[in-house]
Symmetry: C2
Subunit: 407 residues, 2 copies
Amino acid sequence: MKYSNRVTAMQSSPIRKLVPYALDAKARGIKVYHLNIGQPDIKTPKGFFDAVKNFDSNVLEYAVSNGIPELIKALQDYYTTYDMHFDSDDILITNGGSEALLFTMMAICDPGDNLLVPEPFYTNYNGFSQCVNVEVSPITTKAEDGFHLPPKEKICSLINPKTKGILLSNPGNPTGTVYTKEEVSMIAQIAIENNLWIIADEVYREFVYDGLDYTSFGNLKEVEDRVVIIDSVSKRYSACGARIGSLACKNKTLIAQILKLCQGRLCVATLEQIGSVQLYKTPVSYFKEVNEEYKHRRDVLYNELMKVDGVVCEKPTGAFYIVAKLPVENAEDFVIWMLKEFSKDNETVMACPAEGFYSTPGLGRNEIRLAYILNESDLYKAATLLKEGLEQYLLLPANSKVSPVEA
Amino acid sequence: MKYSNRVTAMQSSPIRKLVPYALDAKARGIKVYHLNIGQPDIKTPKGFFDAVKNFDSNVLEYAVSNGIPELIKALQDYYTTYDMHFDSDDILITNGGSEALLFTMMAICDPGDNLLVPEPFYTNYNGFSQCVNVEVSPITTKAEDGFHLPPKEKICSLINPKTKGILLSNPGNPTGTVYTKEEVSMIAQIAIENNLWIIADEVYREFVYDGLDYTSFGNLKEVEDRVVIIDSVSKRYSACGARIGSLACKNKTLIAQILKLCQGRLCVATLEQIGSVQLYKTPVSYFKEVNEEYKHRRDVLYNELMKVDGVVCEKPTGAFYIVAKLPVENAEDFVIWMLKEFSKDNETVMACPAEGFYSTPGLGRNEIRLAYILNESDLYKAATLLKEGLEQYLLLPANSKVSPVEA
């Protein structure tokens, strides 16, 4: 039998492929601090569990394909607080932000079409696009620039007749970069001038630090017919296991197209939708606390990293990730070394090699992504271990030869 | 902006598109018996809800991408009772049977490839295939033959170099047909001789009546490396809203390919998996009761239908659907007429036109699908209304002109 090229060509998750090394370290009695995955340890708001536990029907029936009205209403109310005003039929509930992204790609791209995506990007963008034969055209950004966007001409030069849209996450995963108002406006202008869709993955909307302003693509009137806002409860409410996402778009024709895909998979889990209604009613004070907590965590991790000569990284201002360029040749080797060879007091750290977040071959080879999702004391330990590990690694004969500039 | 051809070409759900007529009837105070959708009224086993309510972590974390080990173990044990023996890494948990089907199609077909599918078929097969640019090559079956398969030569004549597999549901949705051991063996032989995959949608495995033997594709040793078994808790345990499905396959390479797709969407809802572990532990006595109940329902509906001259339908032996050929020109018109014009004591019935279950243009135009998912007294009322409605409709000047033979 044959296997499809589109799936054969997909890479295994760079976030998960080194897991066997971590399991092996644990089997040797070593505690591994996981900075490689974005699984927060913050408590899920209790209202979610209460609502699920209070479900009192005897039959767990299909929900409607577009999502239960109570959850759509809760999302409308949530968006209103950001001055975004969606009709109830502008919103579709999906199996996580993942399905929202996949369905949107399918609805706007035929096989062979492409989307512009700033790289490094959320690695699954690559997976989704490959499995539906959509190409990613990378807009390369750099650690030295804090992963901000290149000038308009550079981006426009990447557009060809097969380009159907621009996909970007803001705040960025894996970069933690928050685009400025000017960057958001520039993308909007490019989309208008080139008749492109904008797929705005804003699942980290509340994770913006240092009092920075945040501009959503949903706030730009001039592109409201071409913007799809991707959302999810996973990170915002620490409810990754609920798999409740959504998309919102004022273009009714696009919604009608995507609704057909929603009908094809019948519905999203009924109980998880009922629980998520309560999540969207979480008071703003929750975000303030969580936000403050993450800001501290970022500072702890960033400050330790910066103590190592040759590490290149602008302090990120959003989400809960850092991408750092290391003075090594191959960051994956370093990550594996940390799991196989390094430990201090029987503890070590797992980072995520960043190469899988790039589609341009060779880029990101000396970079890692770190998620600051542990409590402050664990994170401090992890950050110190990472710093010490990196320092030791750089002293090894084979690894210390790459200068920061060459790297 | 542009919309993709692949999604634009998808039909709206034929099961759901006439819903506005039903809503209008209800607004006029008419009770509508829904025989158009497969949403059972049977109670979901209580163990599901208990397990969900007993979840006691504060954080709703991601589950592993392939599915939680407890659920995979429960599935292994369930399959063992059918003499199918899967390793734990032969099984992947999915967002309903729908995702299992979509992922399998993606993993075995590139755009332009095709799958042989007996028609009439579950309408969403068409939707899934179109959105990933896979073509359905229909193996036409007929009401007069009880929708059993045509001879081997006929099926083989449909195979071309782009054919990658055979997809079939057994027992069949919408036909209720249970394939004989000989039919299952014939498909296996065709797959071997032509190097094809077999995608066996067996979500109605327990819904087999009249003491009939059931042969699963999972029981044929000679094709174990090319069979993918699609499963779901939806119908078996009346848990449609859980969205827990799975696929099982002894071909480790295929599983590795599909696992990449599972990793892309991260995981299936954690709580629903925990609840579903208990579903797969439901005692066999549950199925016996449920099975007996459905058999009665089938008989009630079938017997009423058969009272109308010109209705063509072999008594189905599985699932909970009947496809009947009516002595009318256009079954959709009849379904709409039942909702718009007909009522008795302020009650009417909604059926589902069957044309959307065919991919050959024109076929199924005079057929309806009925789901016998109401309790016996409601179903009896519904069946009587349907019979009376049909008799009245046939007396209308414009509708009585099609003889059963022409239809």
